[in-house]
């Protein structure tokens, strides 16, 4: 299973270990694994955030993520891909999303991991509502995916 919606906190490293165990003997030909873990930060737009509510569209969300994985498998040489995403109440420091790919080639692993994460951010049906000292607010927009959009140091 390559897509999982988690309504309880999850441990990314337990998820990765389980996925590699499931790979079994195929693991010896894999060579490259690229992963990304996104966790909840305790601030956003300059304000402390105490907790967050993550809503999704049961059925569509899973279907959409599985479509992203299928498209990535058609484009890159992947042995396995895994997406885990939290829903429900999330606390600062909790992992929100895990994207992991396994390939015989590191370029395929790096590129597909980043691509899956960007596609997930911009298209997968999830919505965040932050609970801050000033009250609850729906997050309006996701952060940019290219470092070129940040101020240079």
């Amino acid at each position: 299973m390559s897509v999982r919606i988690a309504s309880e906190p999850f441990d990314p490293y337990d998820e990765l270990r389980a996925a590699e165990t499931a790979l079994g003997e195929r693991r010896r030909r894999v060579g490259a694994a690229a992963t990304f873990v996104g966790s909840m930060r305790d601030f956003n737009e300059g304000e402390a955030v105490e907790s967050m509510w993550l809503e999704h569209y049961p059925g569509m969300t899973e279907r959409h993520l599985e479509g992203l994985v299928a498209a990535a498998r058609a484009r890159w040489q992947l042995d396995h891909a895994l997406i885990v995403h939290r829903v429900g109440e999330v606390r600062p420091g909790d992992p929100i999303v895990l994207v992991a790919v396994w390939s015989a080639h590191r370029a395929h692993a790096f590129e597909s991991c980043r691509h899956l994460m960007e596609e997930l951010k911009s298209t997968a049906p999830f919505w965040k509502k932050e609970q801050a000292a000033s009250g609850a607010r729906w997050v309006a927009n996701n952060t940019p995916g290219s470092s070129a959009e940040f101020e240079p140091r």
Partner: protein, 77 residues
């Protein structure tokens, strides 16, 4: 025939409900169902829509037993 209508996240709060039924909707477009259910004339800019768990456009015509959903820009990950 009726169609199941769903709203998510901030849009559910704006509309004031999470689910609705739209009777005699066969042949209506996704945008027309929005107008009929919310009373607003047209689908607001920035509202996304899906039919049967896949993204759709406002001019998509609905069929029997379809499920249509409306939601704001996504903010996962």
């Amino acid at each position: 025939m009726s169609i199941k209508v769903r709203f998510f996240a901030s849009l559910a709060e704006t509309v004031g409900r999470r689910e609705a039924e739209c009777a005699h909707a066969e042949g209506l477009t996704v945008g027309e169902v929005w107008a009929r259910v919310t009373g607003e004339p047209a689908l607001p800019e920035g509202v996304l829509c899906a039919v049967n768990h896949a993204y759709s456009t406002a001019d998509h015509a609905l069929g029997e037993d379809d499920e249509v959903a409306y939601f704001p820009p996504v903010t996962g990950g």
